[in-house]
Amino acid sequence: MSDATYDSDVEAAIRENHPALITYITAGDPSLEDTKAYVEALDRGGSDLIELGLPFSEPIAEGQTIQAAINRALAAGTTPDGFFELVEDLETEAPLLVMTYYNMILQYGDSEAQRASEEATGQRPRAKPDVRPFVERAAEAGLSGIIVPDLPAEESDPLREACDDNGLDLVFIIAPTTEGERLDSIMSQVSGFAYVQARLGTTGARANVSGATHDSLARLSEYDVPKAVGFGVSKGEHATEIIEAGADGVIVGSALIDIISSSETPGDAVDALEAKAAELKRGARRGADSLTVDPEERPEPEQP
């Protein structure tokens, strides 16, 4: 759709595949091996970006669906190291992002080995946490960006600097309550894309698209950054509606977790995930098409 080139793989993936499909699953649910197959299925199905959740024990921003997935992944023994090995193993067209909570980023590198050495020397573990080991390892593993649901812009300086230094995007979330100066400030820092939260509340598949989505996209229309909408998107027709409303992409997570948790075999889940991704991508394209063909919905063309 565009010939421009982008510094960011993430932004490129959205701009170049417009309207973009962004999919999310939790790594390690029910095992890292299965996750590998699922991610590849989502990639085949047409995902343009894939978010991989690194599970944290206190996922305060998640709905019950993703919380349950996280609990299954933790019960299966998923660790950051295992996560990064999975990422290194994956070969997808879609760039990969990691979605995790801030404490997981802070603690990475405060490894057993390091602590053991401190204990051996009789020191109390220093444990002043640092984000850099995580970011460096993420870059090394081939990730393109990071999303941290409990890290608002005000607290993000250390992580943003580390991401900048390592060529990763730090994706910010824009909530329906994000307004005024804060909105300006966050939009001016957008890296990769703006993750537009479709409604108040937490993640989770919903039956319809919130009115807040339309309001948010209208509010954001003046900002020239890629906007992808998540929270509650579960069907092709939602994707259509959201793209029609002006989004550059849709983000789907809980609906995919539902497929994983309800499939009888991993093979079934692989097929169903691929089909779902294809359905969502088609839905998104219909939305883009309707913008092109429906004169009423189309912005007034500028006079040449």
Binding site: F56, S57, E58, P59, I60, A61, E62, G63, Q64, Q67, A68, N71, L74, T79, P80, Y101, Y102, N103, M104, I105, L106, Q107, Y108, D110, S111, E112, R115, P125, A127, K128, P129, P149, D150, L151, P152, A153, E154, E155, F172, I173, I174, A175, P176, T177, T178, E179, R182, I186, Q197, L200, G201, T202
Partner: protein
């Protein structure tokens, strides 16, 4: 918004505007007494809550330890613990802010009952989230909340305890943030909660400071309070922080052991200040009980009210700077503390407060001639637990309860 390296606002973006609104309200109403907020708060705490609470000389403990021991009687506050100081403050603030609805999470039920009481008193609709497991094992507290007109929403997810209740309350808040205030129950969470809750609780230490000078003619040598999340601790210590001659002891739950079992994701204690490491939980940078990867471990204490893997960021800071001494006693010492105060002084303390009394027994020689211990709550709620736990052990201070043998 921070205490040295600790504190901050690590929350989802959707909540940030609400926190800023709260920060603004906190500054205007609480710090500047706009519209007479503080006056109304103090008046209600006096008439409804029963403040001031007494500072009592403990005659038999003083004799036992050969020094002057005073007890701050927060167990006499309405509801049976210091919790109301904070709950009433926040519900009143929510009213001043024009919020229409109150939510809170509760584990064993103490914060939930205090919030339900405050909400009934101030005519605010109130919903409390509580894990299904806790609902079933803390029925009296559920009844009390229902009697006060609060909805109690059982949370079925996971282990169906405090952790899931917090998640569910966060979900509610993230959805309804514009018209709802979330009453956090301790000096934890994102700014301005740790500072605001401390200010609501600081009356404890302010009263002690006046009372002890009136009674003993001078400041105490040491002040001892138990620490879980830390609201009674900070409330007791805050007025004394500038008094360099007053030693401050935060007594945590040593549980059955101070070692973390990382494979099981379990800490058989809740000694966060004593053994924890820095990280981010529930909105703040603070000391935590966590594994090397950053997963929060499950804490455990015989006292449900201390059973939390985090701690208030200001306490982390005061420990880091050396102003507060972190200590802990194990379950046995706390149970003995419970029995000792009941038998010697006729006061049945909360199991939380019993940790402070356990520390007094163990380390009284280090505490100087004039010691104040905060009795943060009463122990009626803990009777069943104490009986069950006492039966399993050989405790020197416990009475027989053979009266039911027939």
């Amino acid at each position: 918004g921070s205490f040295g390296d600790y504190g901050g606002q690590y929350v989802p973006e959707a909540l940030m505007p609400a926190l800023q609104e709260l920060e603004d309200a906190y500054e205007r109403y609480v710090l500047e007494n706009e519209d007479g907020f503080l006056d109304e708060f103090r008046e209600r705490m006096r008439d409804f809550g029963g403040r001031p609470t007494p500072l009592q000389r403990a005659d038999r403990l003083s004799e036992r330890y050969d020094r002057e021991v005073y007890l701050k009687r927060e167990d006499l506050l309405h509801g049976g613990a210091h919790k109301l100081n904070n709950a009433l403050g926040q519900v009143l603030l929510a009213k001043y802010m024009g919020k229409e609805r109150i939510i809170a999470e509760t584990g064993a039920g103490q914060h939930g009952t205090a919030t339900a009481m405050a909400a009934a008193h101030l005519d605010m609709p109130c919903e409390i989230y509580m894990g299904r497991t806790d609902v079933n094992r803390q029925r009296p507290n559920v009844y009390r909340m229902r009697m006060n007109g609060a909805e109690v929403n059982p949370v079925e997810a996971g282990s169906a305890t405090l952790k899931e209740a917090i998640n569910e309350t966060m979900r509610d808040w993230a959805t309804t943030v514009e018209r709802t205030h979330y009453v956090i129950g301790s000096v934890v969470g994102p700014h301005p909660f740790p500072q605001m809750v401390r200010d609501f609780q600081a009356v404890i230490g302010e009263e002690i400071r006046d009372q002890i000078q009136e009674r003993a003619g001078r400041l105490p040598d040491s002040v001892v309070a138990c620490a879980g999340g830390g609201s009674n601790t900070m409330g007791t210590f805050h007025a004394f922080v500038p008094d360099e001659t007053v030693d401050l002891y935060a007594v945590e739950a040593g549980g059955s052991s101070l070692e973390i079992d990382e494979d099981a994701g379990l800490a058989p204690n809740s000694a966060t200040l004593s053994t924890g490491t820095d990280g981010v939980l529930h909105g703040a940078m603070t000391k935590l009980l966590q594994g090397g990867d950053g997963q929060i471990v499950e804490s455990h204490s015989v006292s449900a009210g201390l059973d939390y893997a985090g701690v208030g960021p200001e306490l982390s800071h005061l420990v880091e700077t050396g102003r507060v001494t972190p200590t802990n006693v194990d379950d046995d010492a706390a149970l003995n503390g419970f029995h000792r105060l009941s038998r010697l002084e006729g006061i049945i303390p909360a199991l939380e407060s019993s940790h402070a009394l356990g520390y007094l027994e163990e380390e009284h020689e280090e505490l100087g001639d004039l010691v104040v211990v905060n009795v943060s709550g009463r122990g009626d709620k803990d009777l069943e637990t104490v009986l069950e736990e006492t039966e399993k052990r050989d405790l020197e201070a416990a009475p027989d309860v053979e009266v039911f043998d027939q």
